[in-house]
Symmetry: D2
Subunit: 147 residues, 4 copies
Amino acid sequence: MTEDDQQARACAEHMYAADQASQSLGMQIEKVGAGFARLTMKVRPDMVNGHKLCHGGVIFTLADSAFAIACNSYNLCTVAASAEVSFLKSAFEGEILTADARERWREGRNGIYDISVANGDGVVIAEFRGKSRTIQGAVLENEENTP
Amino acid sequence: MTEDDQQARACAEHMYAADQASQSLGMQIEKVGAGFARLTMKVRPDMVNGHKLCHGGVIFTLADSAFAIACNSYNLCTVAASAEVSFLKSAFEGEILTADARERWREGRNGIYDISVANGDGVVIAEFRGKSRTIQGAVLENEENTP
Amino acid sequence: MTEDDQQARACAEHMYAADQASQSLGMQIEKVGAGFARLTMKVRPDMVNGHKLCHGGVIFTLADSAFAIACNSYNLCTVAASAEVSFLKSAFEGEILTADARERWREGRNGIYDISVANGDGVVIAEFRGKSRTIQGAVLENEENTP
Amino acid sequence: MTEDDQQARACAEHMYAADQASQSLGMQIEKVGAGFARLTMKVRPDMVNGHKLCHGGVIFTLADSAFAIACNSYNLCTVAASAEVSFLKSAFEGEILTADARERWREGRNGIYDISVANGDGVVIAEFRGKSRTIQGAVLENEENTP
């Protein structure tokens, strides 16, 4: 594991520890590296919408969390400026979804990340493209300042 | 209230009753009409991310639910095909967010809906554009078939 | 006509005079105001693609020019950061297309504009959403500096 | 060269021969294969906007043409349903732009393609994501029917 990937893992763990939303949805970080992240989540009964399908917002949230882990992997506080998602297939209660986030482009304070969400059969159910903006501060700064 | 709006309300109530995801996030339907919906949601401690801001996925989910209510208001089962969201301002724990969904264009099985999400001061924090696709079935068909 | 609208018109005329691309495509400015613009363009034989339809890029360009006129209407140099377009219907050679650009949101240096493109029958053929970013300089600064 | 790539080339040549818009903008097809295309274009004086930058619509059109060649490479008539573009850097008169289109996802009649546009220094100036929809007919059907 490179130093960049170690830093990426530290950032991911630090962010996840404070991320009540991702935790409450039961997300797990499977892999993380510089500009990369893979998260999984099981579709629970409380994630289903009025059509008995996994709510699109929940699928988006999984992708958005993977995006956040990937774009914060350089220890620079970074937020989502915008995102676009295509819902390609339905997902159902009980399925385990996997979101793979990869950096497509990054320069200065701006980045573009592509996230694919797949179901347990490896079938892609959503494609998400997020745009990031780096703001002030380091992801790990609080930890570093702790005596 | 017109007949169209009455049908829209019936569809909304039917969908919401089955929408575990929107219910579990504490969303409330404030208004609904043909091609229109207004939902509110309070940002809870379990909706906050690692930057201590309301998770973008939660904001998206509120907008997506308003979109779903609006695009299913004609009693034709309709799903989100894609959506794009811009995160304009941060939202914080304790704030009450309001999502206003309005139809921009609709023809045949396709539609475009614009949703603005505002905070308690009426300041827009996100703009969402969703594209819908009508599938088979009526929203209220189960109810109608019930003896 | 308000002062804001007069300034908007002056900005539009100044930009159009230097906009070789819009001129070479035969665009006409029909209306302009603060945060608003309407442009028209006739689909010429050299605007048609391999499917014998107006090239999507040409439709985008018309919408993008209307967006540029609208977002530069405050005499602050503003560029397109991104745009999303849905192609709803085909357009054909000989048709006159109209693009209506309206501001949806603007704050500080950022803006969101919605542009509808319609054909001669008033049928919407494309919906475009553009995001703008204000950079340094005034649209009319060169003119003002001219003795 | 595989059979698939030969078919892709035949489709590209057939489409380009009828594509007055791409020809009039001076685009060149550099490479083409199944689900892939690379096009180049020189920024001419008539492609510049009121800010003296290459018009965003022209950059979009180059990307859109590369997208069209890539998504029609299977000899199935396919059109753009929507597209999103981020303008990352300015392009200037005299520069030669290259658009690389690659398929990200395709199933049934729907596809997603990612197109990067770079300048002569290989710096990416725009990222474009297009969604395609296959309609009736074969790209090469007219040729095949010709005695």
